[in-house]
Symmetry: C2
Subunit: 324 residues, 2 copies
């Protein structure tokens, strides 16, 4: 008999990334589509179903070898009611039972999971925190989110909404966040916040290397450019990075104190900044976390990149299978 | 055969409180001593052993009915190494193996637990959050601590140090905390912080009802007095309370967003303030926590008072027994 296959789909606000894998985790095929974000649930779920069939076809595998499908969702997935409550980047999926509807299209069980949770379990099982039981995964990208692996399992909270670290207030008297509070981590340390701070400074006419880089990029810079300029010695960029990293450090230390994790993994686009980010964060933990908690935690850069979500989903699928 | 008995001991920096109970949780006898805090480990552990024998004698129970003893410790108890790393209020117990040493005195198994964890499981099993699986317990007293019950069990972190919510930074640019950071929750919202703010205001000569109350109390007020004065309409006291509760609300919302608990229980001396505390905290959660998390959480006042720790220990002892 041929080995069972699993498909994992990372459904993002701009891209769908899907892979087909064996039980062992070996990936047989992968595919990337632009998400039909404005075309409603039927179109988006249809896209996923098509992706899965395409993956099987690419791998030359028969449909009946597909054992289950996992989908990571960016949004508030109610784990108890199996209902996607709200998906900020794909509003068409609000109040949709993704598992049930996809399962009817694909004729296999479908398991949904919040994307940060999936990435967290990916990094905890196959990535930067392999072998660790208590892992805090933070993704710093356009937004900031978190996934908790506690005692070896995803911790979702009572309903599935745990991990909203982007809305931890870290700067009293900071700017208004979409959530209604002022000074949330996302408003000072996300890729969006870093880029905004840089673009505001450019408009205020501050002369800097950033201005040259902005010109090359059509007048505006993104977070990656700000980190590059900081590395190249640009003072303004260094100040912006330093502010963002300072507040990220506050949040990290708060969480190390509260949760006493074994490993903290930072992923997401901004984590590619490397030392500019990790050296000061490491220092913040060593200097400011409560001593016994600081002494028992390791800070790591995520290693799975954009594959963290699908790799986590594959772990969850094969683990769910082995329980059945 | 007679029912087995369990003793639970709450070892505090000023008092030792100990109870003897049946498997059912029914308490047969209780005792309170002043802790011999400055006399070293042998004296303190000896006191506990004496307390336990006294409890048995009070209850008219033979020693061989004692099945196990639980001790809640205020400090950093390394759950993996079974070692009390540091106990800020009883420095004589630093680096002591409390379980092993007490067990040798009492000839029964001894189980140690951090006091906030024990209180959290007490409230989650027998108190304000009975029947809930995901409980955040916060104790606001001279300091501020927390215990997490996640998925029905105490979550201790990788080594046993989870729950240090008192050192969450909530006020950027606030005052220096003992932990090395500025603006920690303890520096603005603990009983100590509330009393300090009031006593500073009194020294600055602000005329207020607080001054009269202070005179009655020998020149200084405590947090309870500040809450009473606020209830009686004193403007200064109201401002002090309002500042403390505002920052406690920031911390609560941060944690509701991060952990999506089913119930948040507030205990400790300051929680006796009742509505002055709970009405604004409830409002903070409703208005500022992420919508799905806010909609799925209940805020409750602790119901076990000073018994939370020993009642939690009794639960842990009988549960450990049933596993054996």
């Amino acid at each position: 008999m041929q080995e069972k296959l699993y498909a994992a789909v990372d459904l993002g606000g701009t891209k769908i990334y899907a892979v087909l894998a064996e039980n062992s985790g070996r990936i047989l095929s992968s595919i990337r589509y632009d998400t039909l974000v404005d075309e409603g649930p039927e179109a988006i779920l249809g896209q996923i179903a098509v992706s899965v069939r395409e993956l099987l076809s690419q791998a030359g595998a028969r449909t009946n070898r597909l054992s289950a499908v996992g989908v990571c969702l960016a949004g508030f997935f109610d784990w108890q009611r199996r209902l996607l409550i709200h998906s900020p980047n794909i509003p068409g999926l609000d109040q949709i039972r993704v598992e049930e509807r996809l399962s009817r299209k694909l004729f296999v069980p479908v398991l949904a999971e919040n994307d940060a949770n999936a990435a967290a379990i990916g990094e905890a099982r196959r990535g930067a925190a392999s072998g660790s039981q208590d892992v805090l995964y933070i993704t710093v990208s356009t937004g900031i989110g978190a996934g908790l692996v506690l005692g070896g399992q995803i911790y979702r909270g009572s309903r599935g909404f745990a991990g909203e670290v982007g809305h931890m207030v870290v700067k009293s008297g900071g700017i208004l966040c979409g959530c209604g509070r002022y000074g949330c981590l996302e408003t000072v340390a996300s890729g969006t916040a870093i880029a905004r701070a840089a673009n505001e400074a450019l408009q205020n006419g501050t002369a800097t290397l950033l201005r040259e880089l902005a010109r090359e990029q059509g007048g505006r810079v993104n977070a990656a450019t700000v980190f590059s300029a900081a590395r190249a010695g640009d003072k303004l960029a260094q100040e912006i990075v330093s502010e963002a990293v300072y507040y990220l450090g506050i949040a990290l230390v708060n969480l190390v104190n509260m949760l006493n994790p074994e490993v903290v993994v930072i992923g997401g686009g901004v984590s590619a900044a490397g030392d500019e980010l990790f050296v000061p964060l490491e220092k913040a933990i060593r200097n400011y976390a409560i001593l016994p908690a600081a002494a028992s935690v390791t800070l790591k850069q995520a290693t799975l990149g954009v594959e963290a979500g699908v790799k986590g989903m594959l772990c969850l699928l094969t683990e769910a299978e082995s329980i059945r």
